[in-house]
Symmetry: C2
Subunit: 396 residues, 2 copies
């Protein structure tokens, strides 16, 4: 019996535990401090009523002889896949076929599990700073991971460069943690690169609902040629507040063929073998969110967070702190003032403003000197945090 | 870019599609036939009211500011892990620690995903006939799979034999498809084998709630030494009718160490990296099922299916058809009469009794000459199907 030795190569991420520890130490010294958490990566607004009603109705259905649902299709019920297809059509004019859409318990699961269908020998490219899951899941499998620097010089949007050899490319747009988003022109270059090199782009669109700029695609399939090189992951987590309700979807277009095999068929085989579908009441709730009244209600929540993001962005503009994100994204990635590094600024902000952010260095080498703010908070807290920041740092 | 070529080695299972096709052809010839499906592997009784109420309450909670739940712990909420620990204590006197229990969206997912933590070079042993997931998930990863014959000679319970070299051993007890269940003495031999050889037993206990024989363990941890060699998978699918609600759990004891590493820690790393927990309302429903009133209600459903199983078993006893299962299991594995092979008997039963079973040959070479009946049907249908079988085959 041998264990998978690659697990020994995963770097432990102490980012959030270190944040928690420093906050704990601070509170021990100053128990009366009124802390505001601006580093939260989780939504905070309740599920919309349309989703609640749909889930309640479906749960009650499950308690009846006639309405009981046992095993459903592993790839999701038709009623939800149809709603997802409609959503793409409405928001982006993109036509997807129902059998290209796979419903799951969330984008994180699919982003990890999709790697099953690829050989271990592929070279993986991720951007730096990066959502750690992209790296860890590949290190676990023994793949080589190369990093593409996201810096102020490239607008935090790394592009393919001459000589780049990458088989699997992770793009997250709008990005976590930077909030930067690829416009059509830039994304087209990646699609061209992938088609020319036979690479596959794993496109994480988890934050697509935050996009308001018409030049920023909400799906990679808005780019010509993407259907032959890209798999897209999306989720209701940030779109509809489903972080604790768990429903996402993955699109594998029929035209995506490698080594003569449709990746759609491989993923279908993977999912039918290692997955058994999403709870029926959750799928009903998800479908309700993507339909008329549901859309209106979830967009209200998105607008709320976007207004928070604007308040944060306006503050940093006023302070002349260079930042990205905040417009098409719930995240604001800001350069620490006075050339401070991430952790010293984290400490400074905590002790002087009693505001908690996330140190950018925790997301990769290129994150050093930056911190991440999120808009997943109440209006009141967001305004209060920015008020404190302006008062303290505006004087310097 | 290279795909995972091992996918090309997975055998396509045509079992259920072939069953569906033969039924379709039969119905085309005889549209008026009143078919009874005795091959169903899915539960048919509605969710118990306690589960429905808990899910409804939790869904409503999610729609409130105070009751909203975002990301939960990847390994499940404490309230559910505690209920599961209590369940083990009550049903088997087995003490588990909360951090050894991992809640998931179902046993199928975990049985597939657990392989992430093992090296590709391990030799895998499965029983034949077999639940295809055990084989396919390993073939996908490129592992060598050996088969242990489950036949009438060994009571459909393969045992370790001199010279057996197996690193990972799948045991499903009560078994799908045979319904045979390991008693303490037999299971102890497997635990001894695994500890002596450093193997890991993957114990699928999905049908444990159907066990009534006190000599048949409901968990492998009832066997001394199992905590250093076994991972157990269980689920509310068959226990509480959760096939469409999706909640299961996996136990990785702290004492299970290989290559100097706690497998519990590896699995925790796997789940925190590639999984994001189960829907909060589903976890609430699961916890409710395992608590007092819930247990009473789910055991009512189990009793209903067990009574169906008894009706089937009594019929085969009367007809003198050798069978196994039906006592500690919802499945009855019966030898086809007159030395018929699986598919000819399937056809015979379909055309003469209008009853659908599952041909045993579809589960492996050792399944030839057998068919599987299940108790997941209404009492009325079960009785009618058995009446037809007695009338037709009792005369011969």
């Amino acid at each position: 019996m041998r264990i998978n030795k690659n697990y020994g190569n995963i770097e432990e991420t102490y980012l959030f535990s270190e944040v928690a520890e420093r906050v704990r130490q601070f509170m021990a010294k100053d128990p009366g401090a009124c802390l505001i958490k601006m580093g939260i990566g989780d939504v905070t607004r309740p599920l919309c009523q349309t989703a609640v009603k749909a889930m309640v109705a479906a749960a009650e259905e499950m308690g009846t002889e006639k309405g009981f649902h046992g095993y459903g299709p592993e790839q999701g019920y038709g009623f939800l896949r149809d709603e997802i297809a409609d959503y793409y059509q409405r928001t982006s004019g993109v036509k997807l076929f129902s059998d290209e859409i796979f419903v799951s318990d969330g984008a994180k699961s699919d982003i990890g599990n999709i790697l099953d269908i690829f050989d271990v020998d592929n070279v993986v490219a991720v951007t730096d700073p990066v959502y750690p899951v992209y790296v860890d899941t590949n290190v676990m499998a023994g793949r080589k991971v190369i990093k593409l620097s996201a810096t102020a010089d490239n607008g935090f949007l790394p592009m393919p460069y001459p000589g780049l050899q990458a088989d699997i490319i992770y793009l997250c747009s709008p990005n976590n943690p930077t909030g930067a988003a690829y416009d059509k022109e830039r994304l087209t270059k990646w699609v061209e690169y992938a088609n020319a090199h036979g690479s596959v782009i794993l496109f994480d669109a988890a934050y697509e609902a935050f996009i308001s700029d018409p030049d920023v695609p909400r799906t990679i399939y808005a780019i010509e040629g993407a259907r032959s090189c890209a798999i897209e992951f999306c989720s209701l987590s940030k779109t509809a507040g489903f972080t604790g309700t768990r429903c996402g979807y993955t699109v594998v277009p029929s035209g995506l063929i490698r080594d003569g095999v449709q990746l759609r068929k491989m993923w279908l085989r993977r999912q039918t073998t290692k997955f058994n579908g999403v709870a029926y009441p959750v799928q009903r709730a998800a479908a309700a969110c993507l339909h008329e009244q549901g859309i209106a209600e979830i967009m209200e929540n998105i607008s709320y967070y976007k207004e928070n993001a604007k308040i944060i962005a306006d503050t940093f503009t006023e302070l002349k702190w260079p930042f990205t994100g905040g417009k098409n994204s719930p995240y604001i990635w800001v350069q620490c003032p006075h050339g401070m590094k991430s952790w010293p600024f984290f400490d400074d902000l905590l002790s002087r403003a009693n505001v908690i952010c996330t140190p950018g260095a925790g997301f990769g080498d290129c994150g050093e000197g930056y911190v991440r703010f999120t808009s997943f908070n109440s209006r009141e807290n967001t305004e209060e945090a920015m008020k404190r920041i302006r008062e303290i740092y505006g004087q310097e």
